[in-house]
C-alpha cells in the first residue's frame, strides 16, 4: 500500500505546516491502527449523538414513543481481521457505546429498522414470508468519484484532488436542492465518505417510510446519465423543453460550473483525444468535421492568451446554436455535453433498496485515516477533502490538550469539534424537534379517535 502511506504522509506535512510550534513529543505516528481507533472511539466518537439520531425521538418519555424502535435497527461492524458482523442491535445508548468500544470496528454500517429485533431474526424467520423484513430506512444516496473516471483527467480510481472534487460539490448542490424544493424533504445530512465521495441521508419520516418502488422512482428522477462502456451517447435529452428540475439544475449549477471551472481545470479540449470525445456526442458530420479542421489547424497557430478550452467551447456552441442549425437533436447538444460531464452520477442500487447498508458518519476511513464528517450543503464549495481531520491528527490534538479535569467533551478541544457542533445544530436538533411534533400529533390524533369511539 505504498500510495496510501504517501497520502497520509502528505496530510501530516500539511498539519505540520499549519502548526509549526507543535511540540515533537505529542506528535502521533502516521497511519491507522487499532490502538488509535480505540482511543478515538473512547474519547471522540459521538456515540450519544448517533443514538439520539437513530432514535428519532422514540427515546423520550412521551407515551406515544416506540420503545423498541432503536433496538430494531441493524448495525453492522467490520472488524480489523475482516470479520463482518451483521445484524447487531442495541437497546440503549450505553449498549451501543460499549459494543463499539469493545469491538473497535474499523467500519460501522447502518442498516434499516426491521419489524423485529434483527439479532433475533432467526426466531421470526419461520413465521413465513414476512417474518423478518425492513420497515423503515432513511432514503440514501451514494456518489462516488470513480464513476466519473471517463470525464476527469487529473486522477483515476480512488484518487481525488482539488481539480475533480468540485464534481462532488456539484452533485451535492443539485441533489440537495431537488430533495428540498421538489420532494419537500427537510432533514438532509451530507457526509464525506472518507476517501472519494459523498453520502446523503434523508431522514424525514416520510422518507424513512418509502417503499422500494418509491425509492427507485426518486433515484430514476435523478437518473440522467445513461451511458455504459459500449455506447457513446451518455446523456440523451429529448422533447421540446427540459423538465423544470433539469432546467433549474442546468442554469443554476451545471452550466456555470462547466464553463467557468471544469473546462479549464480538466482541459477538456486541450488535445485531440479529448475533443474527439466531445465531438462524438454531436450527431452531425458536417459540424464535427468543420470544428475538427479548425482545431487541428489552430494547434500550430495558437498564440492567443485565452484558454484554449474556453475558446473551443465557444466555437462549438456558436456552431450548434447559431440560427441556421435545424433539428431538435442539435439544439439539445450543448446541454447534453454539459450534462454528460457535470451532472451527478448516482450509485442507483444504493438508493433503490431499503436494506442497503451505509457507513455511519464519524467513522474513520481505514485507508485514508480521515473522519467521515458532515458536509454543509450550503457551504459545500468550501469543503476540502484534503484537510479533513485524520485519526493521527486528532490524537495529536488530544495529546496536546493534556489531562484536563475541567469536564466537557473531549472532541470539543479537537478539530472534530466543528463537525460535531454542525451535526448537532444544523441537523440533529431540527430533526428531533420535528420528530417530537410528529409523535405528539400522532398521539393526539389517536386520543381523538378513541374519544370518538368512546362517545358512541
Amino acid at each position: 500500500m505504498p500510495r496510501e502511506e504517501s497520502e497520509n504522509g502528505r496530510d501530516d506535512m500539511l498539519i505540520d505546516g499549519c502548526e509549526p510550534e507543535q511540540p515533537r513529543g505529542n506528535s502521533v505516528p502516521d497511519g491507522f491502527n487499532t490502538n488509535y481507533l480505540k482511543v478515538y472511539y473512547g474519547k471522540l466518537f459521538p456515540h450519544h449523538d448517533i443514538f439520539k439520531w437513530m432514535s428519532y425521538g422514540n427515546d423520550g418519555k412521551h407515551p406515544a414513543c416506540d420503545r423498541s424502535y432503536f433496538g430494531r435497527r441493524e448495525f453492522s461492524f467490520t472488524l480489523d481481521n475482516d470479520i463482518y458482523l451483521r445484524f447487531q442491535s442495541f437497546n440503549s445508548a450505553s449498549e451501543l457505546e460499549n459494543s463499539i468500544n469493545e469491538k473497535c470496528p474499523v467500519k460501522i454500517d447502518i442498516g434499516p429498522v426491521y419489524n423485529v429485533d434483527p439479532a433475533k431474526r432467526h426466531a421470526y424467520a419461520q413465521a413465513g414470508d414476512n417474518g423478518f423484513a425492513p420497515v423503515e430506512r432513511e432514503l440514501i444516496f451514494d456518489v462516488d468519484i470513480t464513476d466519473y473516471d471517463d470525464v476527469r483527467y487529473c486522477c483515476s480510481g480512488a484518487d481525488v484532488c482539488l481539480d475533480c472534487w468540485p464534481l462532488m460539490t456539484v452533485a451535492v448542490k443539485v441533489i440537495d436542492t431537488t430533495l428540498r424544493d421538489d420532494f419537500g424533504f427537510n432533514h438532509v445530512l451530507w457526509v464525506y465518505s472518507g476517501r472519494r465521495g459523498v453520502h446523503c441521508w434523508v431522514c424525514d419520516e416520510k422518507a424513512r417510510r418509502l417503499n422500494n418502488e418509491q425509492r427507485a422512482a426518486i433515484a430514476d428522477y435523478f437518473h440522467v446519465y445513461k451511458g455504459n462502456e459500449n455506447s457513446h451517447k451518455k446523456v440523451s435529452l429529448t422533447g421540446h423543453a427540459l423538465h423544470p428540475f433539469l432546467a433549474r439544475s442546468y442554469t443554476e449549477v451545471l452550466k456555470g460550473f462547466f464553463e467557468e471551472k471544469l473546462l479549464s481545470s480538466q482541459n477538456l479540449f486541450s488535445n485531440e483525444e479529448r475533443f474527439e470525445k466531445i465531438l462524438e456526442m454531436i450527431p452531425d458530420e458536417s459540424i464535427t468535421s468543420e470544428l475538427r479542421g479548425k482545431w487541428q489547424e489552430s494547434r500550430r497557430s495558437s498564440i492567443s492568451k485565452e484558454d484554449i478550452n474556453v475558446v473551443r467551447w465557444g466555437q462549438l456552441k456558436q456552431m450548434l446554436q447559431s440560427g441556421k442549425q435545424k433539428g431538435q437533436g442539435l439544439r439539445r447538444c450543448v446541454e447534453e455535453i454539459v450534462f454528460s460531464y457535470a451532472y451527478p452520477r448516482l450509485d442507483m442500487e444504493v438508493s433503490k433498496h431499503m436494506n442497503h447498508l451505509l457507513k455511519a458518519p464519524f467513522c474513520i476511513h481505514p485507508k485514508t485515516g480521515r473522519v467521515c464528517i458532515p458536509i454543509d450543503p450550503n457551504h459545500c464549495e468550501e469543503f476540502d477533502p484534503t484537510t479533513v481531520p485524520t485519526l493521527s491528527k486528532l490524537l495529536g490534538e488530544l495529546n496536546m490538550g493534556g489531562v484536563k479535569a475541567d469536564g466537557g467533551d473531549e472532541w470539543d478541544k479537537t478539530s472534530l469539534g466543528k463537525s460535531v457542533r454542525y451535526f448537532r445544530s444544523s441537523f440533529l436538533q431540527p430533526l428531533l424537534k420535528s420528530c417530537k411534533e410528529e409523535i405528539e400529533s400522532s398521539y393526539s390524533a389517536k386520543l381523538q379517535e378513541s374519544k370518538n369511539s368512546l362517545s358512541w
Binding site: 414470508d129 427507485a216 430514476d220 457513446h232 421540446h240 423543453a241 423538465h243 423544470p244
Partner: protein, 451 residues
Amino acid sequence: MEVVRSQRRSPASDGVVPTLPLYRSAPQLEVRLEDFELFAIDRLRVLKGISDALSRGKKPDEMETLVRDLWKTIMSHAQASEVMNKDIISHFVLRLVYCRTEELRKWFLSMETTLFRYRFRLESPQVQRALMAEFDLPYKAVSKAEFESVKEKLSQVARSIGQYISNADTIFYKVPFEEVPELVASRRVFILKGHAYVAMNQVVSLIVTQFRSHLSKALVLTNRKWTSTIREREKDRLTPVVEALSTSYLGPDYSQPREFAEISLKDIDQVAKSSFPLCMHHLFEKLREDHHLKHGGRMQLGLFLKGVGLKLDDALAFWKAEFSRKVGAERFDKEYAYSIRHNYGKEGKRTDYTPYSCQKIISSTPGVGDHHGCPFRHFSEENLRAALGKMGVGNRAMEDVIDKVRNKHYQLACTLTFEAVHGSSCDTGINHPNQYFIDSQKILQKNNSMV
C-alpha cells in the same frame, strides 16, 4: 366471499357497466376443474405475451394495441356471459400459482398491473371515471388560482414529454409524489414540495398504483393461506395443477445445469468462443482483458457460468485467476469470494440464485464502467457491428441483425446471430443465455458426430 363488484356501485357508474373488474375478492362460483386450468393457461398466454413485448421495449401505444388484441383473441369465450367469469376465475387461479415465491409474485404483479393499465386506457372516459370512483381516491382538482401559479412549470413538463396543455379544459390533481412513482421516475410530472401535479390523462398512473398495491398485499395473504391450508387440503386436486402451471409457461430457469452437466476450466475458453451468446462472450473477454468486472457483470456472467455447469470450486478458481492479477489474491479472497459462494447458495440466506434470463438482462441499466446488459440493446451500433464481425457474422446477416435491433427486437437479433454463427436455424428463438448455450452445444455435438 362474493362475486366481485356486486356491491358498492357508485352513482357515477349508473348506466355504465365496466368490463374491467378490480378483483377485490375471490368469486363464489362453481368452476369445473378443466376450466380452472384452461382459463388459467389462457390468461398466462396473455401475460407471457405482455412480458415478451415489454422485454422488447415496446412503446405505450404499441402495448395498447397488443394488449387489446391478445385479450380479444385469447380471453374471449363462446358464451358472452362467461367472459367476465373467465376473466375473474383465471386471475384468481393465477394468484394461487404465482403467490408462492417472491420471484413469482414479482413477475405476476408486474404483468397483471401492465394488463390492467392498458385495459383501463382502452375503456371510455365514462367507464374510467366510474372505476376511479370505485377506488375512492381522496384527491381534489387543483384550483384555478393555484393552477395559474404553476402554469409555466406545468406546460414546461408537458413540452418536455412532447405534449401541450390547453389552458381551459386541463384538470390537474395534486397528490403526494409517492402515489405516482412511475410518473416521478420518468419525470412526467411537475413536483413541488412533495406534491406531484397529475394531469387528467395521467390519472391511470394513480389508479394503477392503487391496483398494484392492493394486489401486492393480496398476493402475500394468498401465499399465507396457500402454505397454511390450501396446499395440504387440495393436495389431490388443485395443488398438482397449480404447481404444474407455474413451470409450464415460464420456461426452464436453468438453475441446475442439465444436458451438458459440467464444463471444466480448461475447456472454458473454447466453449466461450463457440457457444456463449454475445452478452456473455463480451463479459468473458472483458474479464480476460481487464482482470476485473463490476458487480452487474460478475452477477450476469457468474450465474450464467453456474448454469452452464461450472462447479463452485472451479468458479472460485476461475474468478480468482483473473481478479488476483488486478487486485491481488488476498483482496479477492476478502472481497469477492463471498459473493461467488453467495451465488451458489453457500452464504447469506443460502438461496440458490438462478441465471438471468434475456428479459432481465435486456431490462438492466448498465452504467459507467459496466459491461453487462444485452449488447443488442446497450451497445452503440458501431460497437455492435464490430462485435458481430468478430463473432464471424457475415455482411448480409449483419444487416438483418441490425435491422432487428433498430426495431427493438433484441431477442430476435440474438436469434439471427445464433443462426448466422451456427449455420443452422433456431426455431424456438433465444429467450435465455443458457438456452443459447445448450442449443449451441447440441448443434456442435451433432456436427462432431457426423464428421
